[in-house]
Structure formats: C-alpha cells, structure tokens
C-alpha cells in the first residue's frame, strides 16, 4: 500500500512540470504553425520585414564579427600549442576551419543573437502586451502574429545563416592572422592544409544549423513576449526566460543536429 502511495506521489510530483513542459512545446508549435500559415496566406508587411532585417541582421554584425574573430584566434592558438608538440603545427588551419564551420560559428552566433535580438523581441512584444498595445492591434482587426511574429521570423531565418557565414569568415581570417603573426606557421601550408581538409559540406552544415537556431530563437522569444503578464516585472521575467530558454535550446538541439546532419554531411576527408 505504501509503495503504491509513493508511486502515486512520484507521478504527482513529476506530472505537473511535465504537463507544463508539453503544453509549452505545444504552444510553441502552434505559434510556429500559425506563423508559417500566415506567411503563405496573408500579404507580407514589407516595411516591417525590412526593419527587422536591419535590426536582426545588419545591426548584429559587429557582435558576430567580434565573436567569430576572437574565437578563431584563440582556437588557433590552443590547437597550435598542442599540435606543435607532435610536429603538426601547420595542420592547425584545417582543425580550426572545420570546427568553426561545423560547431563554433553557428552555436556562438546563435547565443549572441539570442542575447541581443531574442531579448529585444521578448521585451518589446512583452511591453506591448502589458500596455494593451497587443489588444489594440487585435481590436483594430490586425492579427498580432501577422504583424509582429511573421516579419521577425522571416528576417531571422534569412539573417541567421548569413550572420553565421560572416562569423565563419571572420573566424578563419583571424585564425590565419594569429597563425602567421604569433605562431610562426607558414601561411602557405596553413591555407593549403585548410583548403584540403575543409569541404563545402562543412559550410553547409554550419549554415543549416544556423537556420534551425534562428527558428528556435525567434519563436521562443516571440512566444515569451506574447504571453507576458504582470507589468514591468513580467517583462523582465519574460526577457530573461527568453534568453535562457533559447540559449539552452540552441545548445541542446546542436548536439542532435550534429548527430543527424553528420549522416548527410559526414565529417572528415573522404
């Protein structure tokens, strides 16, 4: 009898959070479904879309360049310190380029964008929610998903892969500079090895991941904004949660994306 009670208590304890989690996932999927349906059935507000391209894509560039550049630089240095011991210093370029393309650039750009853009999205939409501006949109016969989420989602899906490509570029350039200036690697060997070991599929993998991360960030952040409650405190909470949840979603989904995409785009020289 006591055992049955304990089992019941166990399920009650994990039940509520589990239901909340499944419900949350459901809401995200519904929002995404609503958005994609709207993209195909309703006219796009070009002005808002272009504004979001500027906000998400154009203005995130510096952040992404710095992230890519310094990550490439430090990764080149660390790789060289190890590889040089076994006389493989000039292979540094190959390792750095592949790692940046496949993992570092998409993940780090996504984390930076979720902090910069995701936070802004949930704060802006959340403020509109608590000041009745979302209700005003609805009352003026404008569906908030069409007006707020669609332009952001499209802009994010276009910007994230491009930002990641930019991050990759700056990472590789920075690693090259570090290699020839600080590490005394022969530049020609560095580039030759890099080109030999890096494939188009590595680049495609990074950019595909970025596209998925963009989708995760935009729907998590917009959803947090649209479900904000309780005034200024609520906006703060929504913003924090948007950044935390989208960052975790990026890191967790990255593992599964790597495993899945590696079947399509296998790593290594073949």
């Amino acid at each position: 009898m006591a055992g049955a009670k304990m089992i019941a208590r166990f399920f009650i304890a994990i039940g509520a959070p589990l239901v909340a989690f499944v419900r949350y996932l459901g809401e995200l999927v519904l929002l995404a479904g609503d958005t994609f349906r709207s993209v195909f059935t309703h006219r796009l507000r070009w002005r808002l879309f272009l504004q979001q391209i500027v906000e998400i894509g154009l203005l995130s560039q510096v952040v992404v360049m710095v992230t890519g550049g310094f990550t490439g630089a430090v990764f080149a240095a660390q790789t060289y310190f190890q590889f040089n011991k076994i006389g493989m210093g000039s292979a540094t370029g190959a390792v750095v380029a592949v790692a940046i393309c496949r993992e570092l650039a998409p993940v780090l750009s996504a984390l930076m964008v979720s902090g910069r853009v995701g936070a802004a999205m949930s704060a802006e939409i959340g403020t509109m929610k608590v000041t009745e501006q979302i209700d005003a949109l609805r009352a003026l016969a404008v569906y908030p998903v069409d007006y707020l989420v669609v332009p952001r989602a499209l802009a994010m899906m276009i910007s994230m892969p491009l930002l990641t490509a930019e991050c990759i570029g700056f990472g590789i350039i920075a690693s090259y500079l570090v290699a020839i200036v600080f590490l005394d690697i022969n530049g020609t060997y560095y580039v030759a090895n890099m080109v030999q070991w890096t494939r188009m599929r590595d680049l495609i993998m990074g950019v595909s991941k970025a596209f998925v991360f963009g989708i995760l960030i935009v729907f998590i952040s917009c959803h947090k904004g649209l479900t904000t409650r309780e005034g200024a405190v609520g906006v703060g909470r929504a913003t924090t949660e948007a950044v935390v949840i989208s960052s975790l979603a990026v890191l967790i989904s990255n593992f599964f994306l790597t495993m899945a995409l590696n079947i399509v785009y296998p790593a290594g020289y073949q």
């Binding site: 501006q133 609805r138 009352a139 003026l140 569906y143």
Partner: protein, 259 residues
C-alpha cells in the same frame, strides 16, 4: 428591485449579451450578464471598480472569450469565433482603451492612420486628410507629429478615440473614458462622446464609475453589481430608484444607510 432586461430576439440590437459568465483564476467576475444595446443608442455601464466592467467590455469585441453564454454583435454570434473570423466584426466596432493603448513607437498621425494603412490604403494625401479630419473631431488639430510619450493622459485618450473612429465603425466601446482626468477635460470627453453619437449615429457603450459622465452621455444606464446587471433604465429612472445598493453607489457611501 432588480430590473432585468427582457429576453428578446437578437435582431435589431447592435449588441446582445446572453447569460455571459467569466471567471478569472478562481474568481467569478461575470455571473450571467444579460444586456441589449439598440442601434444608435448610448448605453452606460456603471459599477464599482474591479466589478468586471472592463472585462465585460472586452468580451463585446472578442478580446476575451466567455466561459459560458453568448455575445451577438450586429446579428452574429461571436462566441467561439477565431481571431481571424473576428476581424470582420472588429472593423465594425471600435474600442477606446482605458490607457489609450497608443503604439508608442509611432507618432500621433501614424497611430491614427494605422487602421487605414492596415486596410490597404496607400494614398498619403487622402490618409492625411482623414487623419486631420478626426483630429479636428477630437480637438487636437496640429498635433500630428507628436509621440505618445509627450502627450497628457487626456490627449492620449483623445488620440486613441481618433484612432478608434477613423474607419467609421458603427459602434464604439469606451473603457473608462474619463478616469484619471480633471473635471474640465472629463467634460470635454463627455461632450465628444455625445457629439460623435449625434454626428455619426454611432452606437456607444461607455464603461465608467463616474456618475456625472454616466448621466451626461447615457440614453440608458446599466448597473453591474456582483457579476450581474442589477439595474437597467434611463438616467431619470436611476435617480428615482430607491434601492439601497443603487443609492449607496449614487451617493458614494461606503456603508449602507440601511445598516
């Protein structure tokens, strides 16, 4: 004493509410509201603060969905309609929010022109002419370029009203149009509501706890008490009514004289 409106057909009424129930969290806010508003009429809903007046108003335009009951707007049952289906109704019914709910990233002109632009109007000249026309109605000529942040509370409400009426809806809902305003500005808003009703024959529903405003603008007054319509009649009938609950509200007494 409670004077409950007769259950009638929904034909002819601009808005009809049948046995509307809504709970928020644990609390039952509306417990079977019955209400009918004829075309061209101004109905004032009065009641204590936190008594569910704004909740009732938000149901009339589908911003909230009831737990039970029906809402009919110009002959259509809007209960259970999806957001997309509701857009057709919302083009006919405008609402003035308590705070004005202006879009704070847009100027006054952009705010007011918003419904036109969303309806597909692109001609800047016509749009500006329409904006200036409604700005004149709400007595804010020349304030086009200001941002909502730099407006006073009364001005924000008037801009919100301009935005609500620019598409010439057949019905306007007002959520506490005079709360937080000084008596002079309140009076100008009351006159504005009357003028709109006379000039455009708009049906109006005004939610307020300001008795002066209620008597001034209302053709009929409904008193919402404990989630139901407790009284429904003309301002003159309300004044004559000797029900203690009504009297307490009219005289602003916190303790009933009958105690």
């Amino acid at each position: 004493m409670a004077i409950v409106p007769q259950r009638a057909t929904n034909n002819g009424a601009m808005i009809a509410v049948r046995d509307l129930r809504k709970a928020i969290g644990e609390e039952e806010i509306l417990r079977g509201v019955e209400l009918e508003v004829a075309v061209g009429e101004t109905l004032v809903i009065i009641g204590r603060s936190g008594g569910g007046k704004s909740v009732l108003l938000k149901h009339l335009i589908g911003l909230m969905q009831p737990d039970a009951g029906e809402i009919w707007v110009s002959g259509k049952n809007i209960t259970g309609m999806s957001e997309r289906q509701l857009t057709a109704i919302r083009q006919k019914v405008g609402i003035l929010f308590q705070s004005g709910a202006l879009f704070d990233s847009m100027t006054v002109e952009e705010n007011i022109a918003f419904p036109l632009r969303e309806a597909g109007m692109r001609d800047v000249k016509t749009m500006r002419a329409r904006v200036n026309e409604v700005l004149e109605v709400v007595e804010l000529e020349g304030e086009n370029a200001k941002m909502p942040e730099s407006l006073s509370g009364g001005m924000r409400k008037r801009v919100g009203l301009a935005r609500a009426i620019i598409r010439q809806p057949s019905c306007v809902l007002y959520d506490e149009p005079t709360s937080g305003l000084d008596p002079v500005v309140s009076d100008s808003i009351n006159r504005l509501i009357r003028r709109l009703q006379e000039r455009f024959q708009m049906t109006s529903i005004v939610v307020t706890h300001d008795m002066k405003s209620a008597v001034h603008v209302g053709d009929r007054i409904a008193y919402l008490h404990e989630g139901r319509i407790y009284f429904h009649g003309t301002p003159a009938e309300l004044k004559k009514c000797d029900d203690p609950i009504i009297q307490d509200f009219l005289l602003g007494r916190s303790e009933s004289a009958t105690n």
